[in-house]
Symmetry: C2
Subunit: 422 residues, 2 copies
């Protein structure tokens, strides 16, 4: 006897059976619909990228490149990486056609991304992420637009503004704040920024100790904390969002974002439910991304939003309604025996030409079982096809939900079905 | 000066700029629409699979496993393969929930697949493939359905039956033919089958020499060729397709299919245009796929259809109309200056709530340039937002295609626009 293979997927990735795929498709379709009302165009690329794309200074944080990417040598001795995030790819694409593209660009993509993570809850090795970017608009209203889009994405899933909070910061403003405290060395600012990024995950004491070891002065530690805690800060992006009626937003000076490439606005959206208290979405403005490829600069602002955190948010707030079920056929055609299968398939063709979703039951089960199978699959209608029906041309269409019946020619029943499904 | 990175993608894979993505989306959407009218449900899985999945005898042909997969060792010492085809994955998934799933299943997926190929025209290292399978129906009308679906997929792109031909064969019938010639050893039959798979790519002389070296008897070589050339063969699948009005189909005894796991019907669809004379789609029936995982057997029949060959077919027959262009906004809102950007964004929100695709021009270009940009982007309407409009509440909507104008309140213009776009 042969040894059997396990049926589990590779560790840390997911199989999408039709039930799960229905939810995934619902999330992707809702994303697509909302971003396209903002005039965004879709792009895509391969998951395979030259490994060098992630080694350039400032592209991704060092931890990810060293420990968390899938990188391997191909059979042609090229070093390849499974993309861990989409921004380097889109920067490469924009740089590649920089002269031909007509700016501004509003581009989106729904790529799958790979990180080699230790397996733990919610930390998968592959996830999908909606990426939206506006390239080529410096004006702060582009920041307002991208955040308004992020906001609308959640609203369009049925969320209300109390379910989430937009936390806003600005790297340039942070530099000014640090300059006001006499801190101007970029490496020191980066160290404080990275510490701030971890602030919510460590105790106040741990934070203060780490901050002291960076700046070496207790008075300065206190001054920094005072500035970070300032509740009354505002800026034009915040005011712009309020003008658009978006009020679930505040300045949070501890928002740091992991990536080094941001230069202006940075933001996150967090779930306000204590049971799912984490960042769902993050992004910011960057000006120097193309510099890895060209001596050109294009300003951009964008964000990424993961499918796993999105689904957690929807489940936490009961926004995944029972209506999101796998696709059921509208009509199941039931041959009385296998010799009527071909006749049933001919009839199915007529319905399909009118875009009706039709499944023909080709099994050798009894009629009663075929009908109950159709009900279990969630079909709305069933049509029996037997010798009597074929000889007389008179068929019976069962409405499975209402347990009613309609009789007539195929033409009559087709018209009836279409008028009762749209 | 830093060394600049190249902007090309990794060798053998494609970037999808919005123009290309529009075509890719058109192909995927058309596939999706057609297969769903046949009652198929979508599933998906990760591109990462345990390498063992492809090493089992009969899973994939040996050449692919040894020379053509992307296989590497992950940081946890697991051997991982980027899936080269979807069938082993779907077999794994079906085996994994064999007891819970309600058969028959009609499942489809549009996965990307990876093969390490030497770079040459049309031979990419990553491509997408529509995979459709019916599991759990033995009756030959399931074979008819899956081939009728493949046929309909091409028809729904605007193809006519003369543009392609369905070539049909059957592994079990081939075994009978070989048995009639006294050839019963499975390894010999496999060798002949693999040779037949290459028949169209080699000369008749090369074919005969190779066949002779397998069977060792010139008389037998002639008998085999006679059987393979038999033009009048028929079977119930062929007759079933003709009953459904599908006549661009013939039995071709040389159709072999690369994979060893087929057990019954096998088929290919080829482009009849001499300039694109190749197989676009192939599939067949298999009964033993689950045996790698379980002591259970489920019969299945399916096919795979690639995006690259699909696009080549559509281009060869001029079926990619000019209407397949990247998504343009229906409306571009044009602020007269940047101080009107926020007001324009507020107005955009009203249109977006009615599912209108709206882009707000946030640049600091002059109004005339903004209008010509909107025209170039393919927008249908433009709305000017300046101090006069905001004060009076009276706006002007330009129909860019017809060069007409409509004036009124935002409400009036919204109603007008919606009635003129649906």
């Amino acid at each position: 006897m042969d040894k059997k293979l396990p049926t589990e997927p590779y560790k840390g990735v997911r199989d999408f059976y039709p039930e799960d795929m229905a939810i995934q498709s619902y999330i992707f379709n809702t994303w697509k619909k909302t971003v396209e009302t903002f005039g965004f165009e879709r792009y895509d690329a391969s998951i395979l990228e030259p490994a060098d794309l992630y080694k350039s200074k400032g592209a991704v944080n060092a931890e990810m490149v060293n420990d968390q990417t899938y990188t391997f040598i191909d059979r042609g001795e090229r070093e390849v990486t499974l993309r861990p995030e989409m921004t380097p790819t889109v920067a490469r694409m924009v740089a590649g056609k920089h002269r031909e593209l007509s700016f501004p660009l509003r581009w989106y993509s729904i790529p799958n991304l790979f990180r080699y993570e230790r397996a733990q809850r919610g930390r998968l090795r592959e996830h999908w992420q909606l990426n939206c970017d506006i390239f080529g608009i410096e004006h702060y209203t582009a920041d307002v637009e991208i955040i308004a889009l992020a906001h609308q994405l959640l609203i369009d899933f049925g969320a209300t503004p109390d379910m989430f909070e937009i936390q806003l910061n600005n790297r340039a403003e942070m530099s000014q704040i640090f300059a006001g405290l006499g801190i101007t060395e970029p490496e020191v600012i980066n160290e404080i920024t990275r510490l701030n990024d971890r602030k919510k995950k460590i105790t106040t004491e741990e934070y203060e100790t780490a901050l002291l070891s960076i700046v070496g002065d207790t008075a300065l530690v206190n001054q920094i904390q005072e500035k970070l805690n300032c509740q009354n800060d505002t800026n034009e992006v915040l005011e712009g969002l309020k003008t658009l009626g978006i009020n679930n937003v505040k300045i949070d000076r501890t928002i740091a974002r992991g990536f080094d490439y941001y230069t202006g606005t940075i933001f996150e959206i967090v779930d306000t439910d204590p049971s799912n208290n984490r960042s769902m979405l993050g992004g910011g403005r960057y000006d120097n991304l193309l510099k890895m490829f060209k001596d050109e600069s294009v300003t951009g602002i964008g964000f990424g939003m993961g499918d796993v955190t999105m689904r957690d948010f929807l489940e936490t707030h009961n926004l995944l309604g029972a209506h999101i079920t796998k696709t059921a056929p509208t009509l199941v055609i039931i041959p009385t025996d296998s010799d009527r299968n071909l006749d049933s398939q001919k009839i199915a063709h007529l319905f399909r030409q009118r875009e009706v979703k039709v499944s023909v039951d080709l099994s050798n089960k009894k009629i009663g079982k075929k009908i109950s199978d159709a009900v279990n699959r969630g079909a709305t209608f069933a049509l029996i096809v037997g010798p009597d029906e074929l000889n007389s041309g008179n068929f019976t269409l069962k409405n499975l939900a209402f347990e009613t019946e309609e009789s007539g020619t195929i033409d009559t029943l087709l018209t009836y079905l279409i008028s009762h499904t749209t």
